[in-house]
């Protein structure tokens, strides 16, 4: 599914050096003339996955739209750290309205551009997981259902980080947050159904849905590029580790994101017209412990009295993803997500 044309591994890592690629194959980020849409000098924490994800995604969208882009932003970390008055890090037209209305505001922007015949200008809306799966969900579903011409990007760091790490509908089971403290026998967030927004998006039969992580730049940029090639409602869900909220080292942001994918806990796939058309296969299947143990939010699962039972439940979730999406297969399985057994 990725258009990445080469399949060799360098120096034992999965990184593909841009300098070994033809110009066409190089990332937007490697281009010294990239837009730098989210410019340096913003107030994000060290190692912020969201700042990284937003710059990757918006720069790619800028290239895809030849620089004709308008962004709408929900309230959240990204909004706060990028625009402390009177400064702004955005080098693109950018509008922040409220926490829960970014999809609808983007619909309005798209409608205005359409009525004015500005077909050259494209619209992205962006929000964290709270602004997407919780408070913004009604507006998002409405935007999907109407198939408005908006690319909506969720930067998922799995909790309300802006307000001090509280649980969101995207917080995974067992994770410690300020409102799901690591106390009691079922410490951390409860095991529930979860709110799987990519699949909910697919259920709207919108033309394009994809997930990505900040660990695979080529894949992320390719998905933005493909999303921008189509019109209508599109959804991109990017996993962006939060060193503060996850209790991971700032230098480990990419590593944690990669492990989320390699364990199977965060399936990376894309779907066209409501059907999964491709997955990023796991290259080295990794037990979930490796992912969990480097994050403070799961510290209560380890230590003197390790909760192997809970770790096993999380491993089962990863295994189920691997089966559901065919994450170990070389070629993507013929998947009908509507028939997926969860």
């Amino acid at each position: 599914m990725t258009t990445q044309p080469i399949h060799f591994y360098q120096v034992g890592s999965f990184a593909v050096g841009n300098r070994l690629l033809d110009d066409d194959g190089r990332t937007v980020q490697s281009d010294p003339n990239r837009t730098n849409s989210l410019d340096s000098g913003h107030r994000a924490c060290q190692g912020c996955g969201e700042a990284l994800g937003a710059r990757y995604a918006i720069d790619a969208a800028m290239r895809a739209s030849q620089g004709r882009l308008v962004a709408v932003n929900a309230t959240g970390c990204l909004e706060v750290f990028s625009t402390p008055y009177p400064e702004t890090s955005w080098r693109i037209p950018w509008l922040h309205s409220l926490f829960g209305n970014a999809p609808a505001v983007a619909t309005g922007v798209a409608a205005a551009l359409k009525v004015k015949g500005r077909s050259d200008v494209r619209v992205v809306a962006q929000a964290g997981d709270g602004g997407t799966v919780d408070i913004g969900f009604g507006c998002l579903s409405g935007m999907f259902e109407r198939n408005d011409d908006v690319l909506f990007i969720c930067y998922d760091n799995e909790a309300y980080m802006n307000t001090g790490v509280q649980r969101s509908g995207a917080t995974p089971p067992a994770a410690r947050t300020a409102t799901t403290e690591a106390i009691g026998s079922e410490a951390g967030n409860a095991f529930g159904q979860g709110k799987d927004l990519p699949r909910i998006a697919m259920a709207h039969d919108i033309p394009y849905v994809a997930t990505a992580t900040v660990a695979d730049l080529h894949d992320l940029e390719d998905k933005v590029e493909r999303a921008m090639q189509v019109h209508g409602a599109r959804y991109l869900h990017i996993l962006v580790p939060c060193p503060l909220g996850w209790g991971s080292a700032s230098s480990d942001t990419i590593r944690v994101a990669r492990l989320a994918k390699e364990t199977g806990l965060f399936p990376v796939f894309e779907a066209v017209d409501g059907k999964v058309t491709g997955v990023s296969p796991i290259r080295h299947r990794t037990p979930v412990e490796e992912y969990l143990s480097i994050q403070g939010r799961y510290a209560h699962l380890f230590g003197k009295h390790p909760r192997t039972d809970i770790i096993a439940r999380i491993q089962a979730m990863a295994d189920r993803n691997i089966t559901t999406y065919g994450l170990l297969a070389e070629e993507p399985a013929d998947i009908d997500p509507k028939g997926v057994d969860v």
Binding site: R68, G108, A111, A112, C139
Partner: protein
């Protein structure tokens, strides 16, 4: 052109003449006829270019309007009651961002108990949101105020809410003189945004503002509302010159020159009040009326001047602040604090309760004799209230009050008023 037309239809056709480019709608009684009619005009091509968007909530309706306005389109929406409350966060936001959205508010009560009928609780709930709020007395004025509202909004970069009484005006079929396209085009220039989302000149709109500048930003919003106090009369004069009839303005006085008693009110009840006042004039009381057209910004000076000769002021309100009393009364009291008049409040018409000229006449007659209470709930059935009060004192689980009262009243469908 003179038409015998439903108020909603008149507003819809007038809004269409204002060439809105994005109209967003979520249905709520009694606003529905307005957006339905605009939807038909967009679908038929009669209103073009225009994007008509059916959304999933009022919160989305105002949010779409915000996005459209920020991207440089003339944006319009309409709502009422619960819908206004559901969008209230975005209502404040539109004003804070300085986006010249025009919205019709088909005034309706707020529940619980759920009630679809008219009063002004909804408008009062957002009086501090930073929107200009204009109240229509008639359907003619409701239609005309929209033309003025778009121009005012865009001149000042502030959103304007045109309040018209739900059902009483929206569903009333009356004579309305509708302007033609050329007249409206001559009065209302194309929208030239003060700020716009434009790739050629990127700006960040909606940045976070801390304590170091928030008060200044808010004060600026206040100053721009005060600017509206200058612009509203000027635009009303320009409107009269362009359309040949007066409409809008800050206040509308009626027989106040020699009035001892001035009745102050908002909206369609002014018509009924004028009939009652004429009757009291015939009976010898020197009574006049002051209609407030611009509720926000509140025309302090114009109100003080109009009330300066009155001995007594009676504010007739279709809303009240529970636990206190009149809402408009508070503003009127502030405006007239140094004129030496006594101020009384009549709360009436809540949840669509008919306001009859008979009851008003009695109240005004009592006011002339200084026998009107400082806070009067017109036509309130005290006995019903007492019965429920007794139930509540004698029984812990007395049950839901609204249902108890309805049971006491018997079949309501059989009553005319």
């Amino acid at each position: 052109m003179l038409r015998q037309i439903e108020g909603s239809r008149a507003v819809a056709e007038t809004v269409a003449l204002c060439r809105p480019e994005v109209v967003c709608a979520y249905p709520i009684s009694p606003q529905t006829h307005i957006i339905e009619a605009i939807g038909v005009m967009v679908a038929s091509g009669a209103l073009a270019p225009c994007e008509f968007i059916n959304v999933e909530s009022e919160f989305a309706a105002m949010s779409v309007s915000i996005g459209a306005s920020a991207a440089g389109a003339r944006a319009y929406t309409a709502t009422a009651s619960q819908g206004l409350l559901f969008m209230i966060e975005a209502v404040y936001n539109a004003a804070g961002l300085g986006l010249p959205i025009v919205m019709t508010l088909a005034n309706r009560a707020i529940g619980a108990p759920i009630n679809i009928w008219n009063d002004h609780s909804d408008a009062m709930a957002v009086r501090d949101a930073g929107w200009i709020q204009l109240f229509a007395e008639t359907n003619q004025e409701a239609a005309d105020l929209h033309v003025l509202a778009f121009r005012l909004a865009e001149e000042l970069s502030l959103p304007v809410m045109v309040c018209m009484d739900g059902f009483i005006l929206t569903h009333a079929v009356e004579r309305v003189d509708l302007p033609d396209q050329a007249q409206v085009d001559a009065y209302l220039p194309p929208y030239e945004p003060r700020q716009v989302l434009e790739p050629d000149d990127p700006v960040s709109i909606g940045a976070m503002v801390g304590p170091e500048a928030f008060e200044e930003v808010r004060y600026l919003a206040h100053l721009r509302q005060l600017d509206a106090l200058e612009r509203i009369p000027a635009l009303a004069t320009a409107f009269e010159e362009a359309f040949g009839r007066p409409s809008g303005g800050l206040v509308s006085p009626y027989r106040i020159e020699d009035a001892d008693i001035v009745i102050v009110a908002l909206g369609s009840v002014l018509g009924t009040i004028k009939d009652a006042v004429d009757a009291r004039r015939d009976a010898g009381d020197r009574v006049g009326v002051l209609g407030i057209t611009a509720f926000r910004p509140f025309p302090n000076d114009a109100v003080r001047e109009a009330l300066s000769r009155a001995r007594s002021v009676v504010v007739v309100e279709k809303a009240f602040s529970i636990g206190f009393g009149g809402v408009l009364s508070t503003d009127v009291a502030m405006a007239s604090h140094d004129t030496g008049c006594t101020l009384r409040t009549i709360v009436c018409g809540l949840g669509g309760r008919a306001i009859t000229s008979r009851s008003l006449e009695q109240a005004f007659a009592a006011a002339a004799l200084d026998e009107l209470d400082s806070l009067t709930f017109l036509d309130l059935d005290h006995e019903i209230v007492e019965r429920e009060r007794t139930r509540m004192t004698t029984t812990r689980r007395s049950g839901p009050s609204a249902e108890n009262i309805l049971r006491d009243l018997g079949t309501v469908a059989s009553r005319i008023d």
